[in-house]
């Protein structure tokens, strides 16, 4: 997308890596709000949030889709242990954020109903972290 320059003019810290990948270092919510409400971008749908444990930090990828322009954009954000919530902008993010909290332990600030989604409340640890160990020998990933 050529018009990503508009975004960079407004937010200096945004890094544009290629046509559909940008890295946001701060002000995540304002960047997403700008991407959603500016008519050039019109990213009205957050298809999913992907979280990956990169050992020293958690990588969050917000995959945006524009139903009007048929564009996709991957917004990268690196969270050391917490990230701002985006449910004010995209309601679909609630389940995503709960799932990421459940499986990777990222706390989403501002999400008041953050809870374990897939695992029982009594579960100890966050399975998708690379240093996660579970002593239950029946589980396949111990070998």
């Amino acid at each position: 997308m050529n018009n990503l320059n508009i975004l960079q003019e407004k937010f200096n810290s945004v890094q544009i890596t290629d046509s559909n990948k940008i890295i946001v270092h701060d002000n995540l919510v304002s960047v997403l709000e700008f991407l959603k409400n500016t008519s050039e971008f019109d990213f009205d749908m957050l298809t999913t949030i992907i979280a990956t444990d990169k050992i020293e930090r958690i990588e969050l990828i917000y995959q945006l889709y524009s139903t009007g322009n048929n564009n996709t954009l991957n917004v990268y954000y690196y969270a050391p242990g917490a990230a701002p919530t985006v449910i004010g902008l995209y309601k679909s993010a609630y389940f995503d954020e709960c799932e990421i909290y459940d499986l990777l332990g990222v706390k989403f600030e501002g999400n008041k109903e953050l809870k374990r989604l897939l695992l029982p409340d009594s579960w100890i640890g966050h399975p998708l972290l690379k240093n996660y160990t579970n002593n239950d020998e029946r589980l396949a990933w111990n070998d």
């Binding site: 009205d44 749908m45 957050l46 298809t47 999913t48 992907i50 990956t52 444990d53 990828i61 995959q63 139903t67 048929n70 996709t72 991957n74 995209y90 309601k91 679909s92 609630y94 389940f95 499986l103 374990r116 989604l117 897939l118 695992l119 029982p120 399975p127 998708l128 690379k130 396949a140 990933w141 070998d143």
Partner: protein, 366 residues
């Protein structure tokens, strides 16, 4: 003012197609709050990917959505092929498209039968399962399996199709339009069906984008978005089809979209058969899947499954095992929108509305 009654719908409720618990609060018969509780079918498919090689993980991806095994396996194979930068043959892609479209019909038929059962009509399921059984028999002949096919591989498909099998598919396609016509005869104008679905569970356009609802549910709200057309993959850019869409936004509209989609799939399969009968390419690439090492990188494949947008994201660190696999499925988001649709409605509409969203729980919990 009556007392508020709190009841649990599920986890083992016959109408929830899987294991879902809905914590419901009722005022009389009116639903005043509802909270979906998921996770009962969580199998840790994303965690399992870390300890398995790509080939070992391949049979597991069919289990993400057991009614749409071809879609999930296509999404995974496509992402792997993209990361390996290999080009599949045209014949491969046409076989894959044919399988996916047959799968879409089978999935919609199962939805139609069980949805009618949810609404109290017990005969349509016998008719839809009769046709679905024919599709499963065709799949069994091709892949050896009725549901968990494990048929697509990296760079190809496991077995080539022969003209004999294609003729059998063609014979089935000649019966199907009449069968769909028969379903419509008993359902579309049925007064009870219309009474229970028209203007029930209104899903507006803005809800669709806010809650990331995709697939037939979205197209029944007037948004003409079909990823087969918007981001063509496999053989879809060479095939002609019309996207089914309507503006009704209610359960009835979602029913009409799915019926129309089955007809579209028939056209698509016929085009695939025509191509496959003339084309004699091979159906595999010369790669050894056992010693497969994927170069460092990441890729998301976008697939239009029968339940909406299906994404498979793979991140590779250059080793023989994936570093991260993430599944984005349509049902995960459709469960979330349920409270918006049913609050304020009568309790007996709960299953009628929920059923119309075509949620499959294994796909939600992964």
């Amino acid at each position: 003012m009556t007392d508020i009654m709190k009841i649990n719908v599920g986890p083992q409720h016959p109408s929830t197609h899987g294991v879902l618990r809905l914590i419901t609060e009722l005022d009389g018969e009116k639903i005043i709050s509802i909270k979906p509780e998921i996770g009962y079918l969580h199998r840790g498919l994303e965690k399992l990917a870390e300890s398995k090689t790509y080939l070992q993980y391949l049979p597991l991806v069919d289990r993400v959505d057991y009614l749409g095994g071809f879609f999930t396996s296509y999404a995974f194979c496509n992402a792997v092929e993209h990361l390996l930068n290999i080009q599949t043959t045209k014949r491969t892609e046409y076989i894959r498209t044919l399988c996916m479209e047959l799968n879409r019909i089978a999935s919609h038929l199962l939805w139609l039968g069980t949805y009618m059962l949810d609404l109290g009509a017990s005969s349509p399921i016998f008719y839809t399962f009769r046709e679905r059984e024919s599709i499963l028999a065709l799949f069994e002949e091709l892949t050896g399996q009725r549901m968990m096919y494990n048929y697509f591989t990296f760079g190809g498909v496991r077995f080539d199709v022969d003209n004999n099998w294609l003729d059998k598919v063609n014979d089935f396609l000649n019966i199907l339009p009449k069968a769909i016509g028969n379903y419509e005869k008993i359902i579309t104008n049925n007064a009870i069906f219309i009474d229970r679905t028209k203007n029930k569970g209104i899903l507006t356009k803005s809800f669709c984008s806010k809650y990331a609802i995709t697939g037939p549910n979205m197209r029944a709200s007037g948004l003409e978005i079909d990823f087969r057309q918007k981001m063509p993959y496999s053989a879809y850019n060479e095939l002609g089809f019309v996207v089914s869409v309507n503006n009704l936004s209610d359960s009835y509209g979602r029913y009409l979209v799915r019926i129309q989609e089955m007809r579209t799939s028939i056209d698509l399969i016929k085009q695939c058969i025509m191509f496959l009968k003339q084309n004699k390419d091979n159906v595999s690439c010369n790669i050894n899947p056992i010693k497969l090492k994927i170069p460092q990188g990441e890729y998301t494949s976008y697939v239009e499954s029968s339940r909406g947008l299906l994404c498979c994201y793979i991140q590779s660190d250059g080793s023989e095992k994936p570093y991260r696999v993430k599944w984005r499925t349509g049902s995960f988001y459709a469960v979330q929108v349920l409270p918006e649709l049913v609050i304020g409605q009568n309790y007996n509409d709960l299953i009628a509305i929920f059923g119309s969203l075509d949620v499959i729980l294994p796909e939600v919990d992964r």
